[in-house]
Symmetry: C2
Subunit: 318 residues, 2 copies
């Protein structure tokens, strides 16, 4: 009998969904902070986000089904045995993260962060000209499920969308123009908004350099809802402090939590949210994660093909 | 020769547009704070926003073309002679105001105002569950150009839209359901978001009472981008303080500027912007105003029908 260890926080209905999918298996519910190394080592399937250092390339582990989209902690050599299959929850987060990025974009365009500051000082003060997505050019860097969802939102407001992705392919209907990651430097100078939602891979680490920000318009807005190490804190700070770009909104930071003494906190033209765009903040997200996990658990036990398998070499969905 | 007095702030291209439209007339450019009462009294056409107390029902004034959508200051008895025609710039502001209201809606749903406050304290702190427009019910109260534009935006994000308007008519394609202002109390309990964009008329003054807010969901978000006296400061304060609704965003206040000692400033679950959603904050708005004014000036001089005429008895476009 397969041993299935479920480490997600679920409501009773979601729990029943997983129990039904795992009928015939030996299911244990626990939490990452409570589970023992013995339980981890004995499991044939783990669903959730176990501590990577407790897995130790366990030979018993046949499937690790993550509840996150990012898989970076588990593709590090030595964490998983080469025979372990790794699946993520890509797709479950697209609505939540894309809407958060969209809200950040509009907040910055309409200067609502500055008006919030004025409000705190009880000041009825006009902060001048605002922007609009209508007629704006938006570069969406990383055109997976989240990037695609965001692209649809900004396009519906009248933006011209440049999608930037790794691999060539047909131009989806929700972008106006497709460019490859290698052409990023050509996209940046044209964009009024750059929304980056890149995963953490060797190729995306520090992909935005000082030069990248110099290539952007001085009026540009930069949004990062992918991984924090796409840009160093120092580079981002300089770009905003020196006015290379107008404003930025980040849900991720090079080091998380962002250290209390980081100079980024104090920048007027930067809005920081504490890695909350995804997670379980939107109730619909948890439903979708539970559906993905239940579907893959059922397929695994039936010996059928799995969805959302992650390619160890790229960190992306296969 | 007709005397035309233009009191708007325009760039040179917009100025030329108006000069071309007024060819053959005697055009003077000035500013409301600089213009003399003699100039006001002598004008046959005024374009802009003259001080209402300087007009004194001038018999010379044949057309007052406002650069605003709201006409409330000019429909007060004694301001305009009954023969003066009054036109507003309705339509020019729809994109700007609707986008501002939309940005406020998303900011509140995603708790970005709370994250801005946390940022100011250098705190990386999770503020919990957020909302979404997808699947939400949005009541748009006031279904003119601005309300219609906003309705399209929220509907494109997946909201179910209840449009609330004065007069019965066919249901436009950008709302799911139409209700009359008299049915407001039936719409309020169903709405996750109430976006109000009512003009200032006798019928809309203090239309939202303590009871209105008690009828709303405790999780509701209230947005006011119309006129501040649709709700008293005291009623709004109590509703937010007592948790009758979750949050509100206002671009208008009962008294403007909002007094420095107003308790509204300090409410965490209220976002205040200083009547900036319209005005000249979005460059496209000024273009559209100039187009409306130039069009009506040309039509007036040619003896042709005017657009955007305001009904003195209601304050609405005829």
């Amino acid at each position: 009998m397969k041993k299935v260890l479920i480490l997600m926080e679920l409501n009773s209905r979601q729990r029943e969904k997983l129990e039904a999918a795992g009928a015939g298996a030996d299911i244990t519910f626990s939490r990452p902070e409570l589970v023992s190394e013995e339980e981890i080592q004995g499991a044939n399937v783990i669903i959730g986000l176990p501590r990577a250092d407790m897995i130790k390339a366990s030979k018993n582990l046949e499937l690790l089904q993550l509840e996150s989209a990012g898989a970076d902690a588990y593709i590090v050599p030595g964490v998983l045995d080469e025979k372990t299959r790794l699946a993520n929850a890509t797709g479950a987060y697209s609505q939540a993260v894309a809407e958060h990025a969209f809200a950040l974009t509009l907040m910055l365009q309409k200067k609502l962060h500055l008006y919030r500051d004025e409000q705190r000082a009880a000041r009825w003060r006009d902060r001048g000209i605002v922007g609009s997505l209508r007629g704006a050019t938006v570069a969406v860097v990383g055109l997976g499920d989240i990037g695609g969802y965001y692209a649809r939102l900004v396009k519906s407001m009248g933006a011209y969308v440049i999608g930037v992705k790794r691999r060539p392919g047909p131009c989806p209907e929700y972008v106006n123009e497709l460019m490859l990651t290698g052409q990023l430097d050509e996209a940046l100078p044209r964009a009024d908004v750059i929304m980056s939602v890149l995963p953490n891979t060797v190729a995306t680490r520090y992909i935005y350099t000082d030069r990248s920000f110099r290539l952007m318009k001085n009026s540009a807005i930069f949004i990062n809802c992918g991984r924090g190490n796409a840009v160093s804190a120092q580079t981002l700070y300089s770009a905003l402090k020196d006015g290379q770009i107008a404003a930025a909104g980040i849900d991720v930071a090079e080091n998380e939590p962002l250290p209390e003494d980081s100079p980024l906190w104090g920048l007027e033209n930067l809005v920081i949210t504490p890695h909350v765009s995804g997670g379980h903040h939107l109730p619909e997200t948890v439903e979708r994660i539970a559906d993905i996990c239940a579907g893959n658990l059922r397929s695994f036990l039936a010996g059928e093909p799995l969805k959302n398998l992650v390619d160890f070499s790229t960190g992306y969905r296969k």
